[in-house]
Amino acid sequence: MEIKAGESYGFFTDTSVCIGCKACEVACKEWNQLEGNEPAFLADSFDNTGQLDAQNWRHVKFYDRVPDRSTTSGNGTAFLMMSDVCKHCQHASCMEVCPTNAIIRTEFNTVFIQQDVCNGCRNCVAACPYSVIAINQKTGTAHKCTLCYDRLQGGLEPACAKACPTQSIQFGPLSQLQQTADARLEALHSQGVTQAQLYGRDDKVYGGLNAFFLLMDKPEAYGLPNAENAVLPSRNNIGGYAGAVITAVVGVVAGLVAFRRRRMA
């Protein structure tokens, strides 16, 4: 595949074929030279990565769906698995709040944090609705998936997509991925897998996600905000500013009243 600047690229992560092997996590860490997690006993079943953060840019989520009573063979989903990643949102919350403009949109239409510009204010950490970003204490900067910006510039596909043995993670031009996803959804629906649905394929969440998903349950089941709840951080601005102005006016009026009283006394 030829990778050209000026075109939109992304991931289509099809969770219906994910086997939870974490090859994507490992490939990501190797290419991006991310540290390993401290060995720890999390008692969290298969999910010993825990979360996306400064050193985990791919995270295979495991949602336990083991039924209470045994189901007929081949008929129960034991786990929902999803290889999570930065969604490279079209309307990116992180980019909206970043005061240094460290977060930019690249020539591949992906969201990228420039390490030399970021000063570690952590505004984006709070803003990202998918808790993707975290601070690396050593560099004092914010880290997340770069969609292998360096590999794309060199004409290579991202490491995770390359490593994924089931093609659960597919990389490509966005329009092509969307076609693939639509075909896959139709195939699943025609097989009677009606719970399958696409997340971030259209512009209902954050103007569309460059890294979108095929899910086997509602977005809420994966801890993802649904279309109704997907709102940008500036939603709080009007309320916050109005509150500040009202407090200020009340303060000033109270001050004036107090001074006047004293003078009259």
Partner: protein, 150 residues
């Protein structure tokens, strides 16, 4: 007030540096507001108190950017990136009216200038022993109340 807390999925770990900043900025702004009100209410007997207010405000305000910078951690020397965009090919000033942090940083800068000028005015007035000029007037009131809260 509605804060859609359910959407802050990860805490940014803004701890006592930031709490300290809000506290001191509030004190400084509050002192400035009260001083301005005292002066506006026009009683000459209040003038010493007003000047004291401006001094307080001036002494406290430099601590604010220091705390904010300390909070950045290892990237502290890049504090000025808040104001200046250093992205290659897109250099210039950074101001995002829709990002409260960006707005706050600029307000802090502008308020510091006001606080410094007012304190200077108060000091000159003290030295000459006469009443200070009605510095900056109502404009500064409206402005720095917001500054104090930002």
């Amino acid at each position: 007030m509605f804060l859609a807390a359910e959407h802050f999925v990860r805490a940014p770990d803004w701890e006592w540096f930031i709490l300290g900043y809000f506290f001191l900025a509030g004190l400084s702004g509050g002192a400035y507001v009260i001083a301005t009100l005292l002066r506006l209410s026009g009683d000459p007997r209040d003038e010493p108190a007003a000047r004291l207010g401006f001094y307080t405000s001036f002494v406290l305000i430099p601590l604010c950017p220091l705390l904010l910078t300390a909070d950045l951690g290892a990237g502290w020397w890049k504090f000025w990136h808040m104001l200046v965009n250093v992205t290659p090919g897109n250099a210039g000033l950074n101001f995002k009216y829709w990002s409260p942090m960006s707005v706050g940083v600029w307000l802090l800068l502008v308020f510091s200038i006001f606080a410094t000028l007012s304190a200077l005015g108060a000091w000159l007035a003290d030295r000459r022993g006469r009443e200070g000029p009605p510095l900056l007037g109502p404009l500064s009131v409206a402005f720095n109340v917001v500054g104090a809260l930002a």
